[in-house]
Symmetry: C2
Subunit: 330 residues, 2 copies
């Protein structure tokens, strides 16, 4: 145990959805759930930088969606650990701003149950031709589209971390064939087959539906290119719950309009909120999800619970969970 209290600074932006706000109330509720640990913590709560520099002077730990990066060591001499509120840290990369002795942890794993529901839904929507049905509804057009049950069809999941495995559980719950595409190609449950990303071009033609779940890194940017979309079966569908720049949306749009692809469900976009004048809003056979597929309204409660579990490890000098690998970028 430490002799003096650990200073934790919680920093939020009012520009983000209230779902992600680290409020005094959320902290108080979490501290109550983790009393023995919480008594070792002194907390400050900041908004859009209002008390940030003051807080950094003494903070040991910070929870933040977008940590300050300029002169961090100088401004925060005692800082040892930054916890991000999100799972993706692509917006913080490259990590040259991050002193070697500050540990960065992300919120990977918080999204599993919700992502599984979302992927189950999206797979069934794509199989039932819902993106086209919904396009027809916008145009008051009654046009029955009949489809066989989803059982036995093939899902190809790109990336098989927490989100990818949730997508995989969804496919298995629907009795689908499941191919995972990962960096190493090492077999991982519940996939039936795992391909290394170097052989992705062999996996894509087998897909009835592709689910993209990868973080955005130098390796994944543009991975699902126009050429690779061209490898898909006619009528195949695509879901993206990873990051937008992994998929060529312009090429995807062309294939949705032409009918080469049957439908898509996108949860992530280059610019969020998606601007009102984006042509994606009215692209046929495309469902626009406003970045909600993987987020539970209890998000911050769960983040703080996970953080407290890591705090216990931290205080005992054990390795933390969810450490971001600076080299891999996730």
């Amino acid at each position: 145990m430490m002799s003096e209290k650990l200073h934790l600074h919680l920093e939020s932006s009012r520009k983000r959805s209230a779902l992600f706000h680290l409020t005094e109330e959320k902290w108080a509720a979490a501290a109550k759930r983790h009393k023995p640990l919480a008594k070792n913590v002194r907390v400050t709560v900041g908004w859009d930088g209002d008390i940030l520099d003051d807080a950094l002077r003494t903070a040991d730990v910070m929870i933040n969606s977008s940590p300050p990066r300029e002169n961090l060591r100088e401004r925060a001499p005692r800082l040892k650990w930054i916890q991000t509120t999100g799972a993706g840290v692509d917006q913080l990369s490259p990590f040259d701003w991050l002193p070697e002795d500050i540990t960065l942890t992300n919120n990977s794993g918080a999204h599993g149950a919700k992502a599984e529901d979302s992927c189950t839904m999206s797979l069934l929507m794509l199989n039932a031709g819902l993106p086209e049905v919904l396009t027809n509804q916008r145009e008051r057009r009654w046009q029955p589209i009949f489809s066989t049950p989803i059982e036995g069809k093939t899902a190809v999941v790109i990336g098989f971390g927490d989100l990818g495995q949730a997508a995989g559980r969804a496919a298995k719950k629907l009795d689908m064939e499941l191919i995972a595409v990962t960096r190493s190609g090492k077999h991982t449950r519940p996939a039936d087959v795992t391909y290394p990303v170097s052989r992705i071009d062999r996996a894509l033609p087998k897909a009835d539906f592709v689910i993209v779940t990868t973080p955005l890194t130098a390796d994944t940017r543009g991975l699902i290119s126009r050429e690779r979309l061209g490898l898909l079966k006619r009528g195949a569908g695509l879901v993206n719950i990873g990051r937008a720049p992994v998929v060529d949306y312009a090429a995807l749009t062309v294939k949705l309009v032409s009918g080469d692809m049957g439908g898509a469900v996108l949860d992530v976009f280059d610019q969020e909120p998606l601007p009102a004048d984006s042509p994606l809003w009215t692209t046929p056979n495309l469902v626009i999800m406003p970045h909600i597929s993987c987020d539970d309204p209890r998000y911050i409660d769960q983040l703080l619970d996970t953080w407290f579990m890591n705090l216990e490890r931290f205080m005992k000098g054990k390795a933390l969970r969810n450490i971001v690998d600076r080299r891999l970028g996730y």
Copy 2:
């Protein structure tokens, strides 16, 4: 075995979707799958009544979505069995046109696998606020709606025949609590609890989501009335894959517009195709499915397979499966 061939007349309407057409090709394929039985059958194929009266003169069996009802005994002196292509026979009720010695069978049970997929999808869509998300998409409005996972929430399934049990399997696959409402209230798997319809008012307030699957009969018409919709929790959702007149759509619309109900997915309408000027097309938080939730494109193949199984029973003098109860109306 019979000494002479059985005359089967297949009658279709070109006004209906090709999915439901009893074509020579479909018959030939089915006859190949059931060779020993098929060699006892002589078949005629008619369209919109073109050879109907001729065929009826000698037909023993007829498969038809909408059998001729005027002077049937006189026109079809040998007719012993009518198989309908659909599951619902409400459009044929009352059954005073049907001679007592003609057996009417429906296609109940053909819809299970597809209905299970559709209900799984619709439950997840309602839980994720998709009807509202899709309304927002129509208006190019980015508005994140966050929801907790569906596990543990409660589905109330109205009617627990083939479609209802498929809906029930969907709810159970999603680890939901499942309440069935049936005529008798007798416990039926996989429901956790079964209520008789006389106590439906006790079941509805427990529902996060209601799935209506009942056939249309004198008892079910108007069952989900404005008053009963008023028993639902705020934000509850509704799916109808049964028959439109079971639910008061005008009252449902009011509750969707006011936000009292969170969303609805409707697959059945008073008039189908739904007319282009129907206000339902643009009702907020409402997904319009063009009567596709329970139909597999292999529909006629499956119908004929089921019919051949019944033919074997017929030829052996055994009781047929799927006999419509004239009194109950399904």
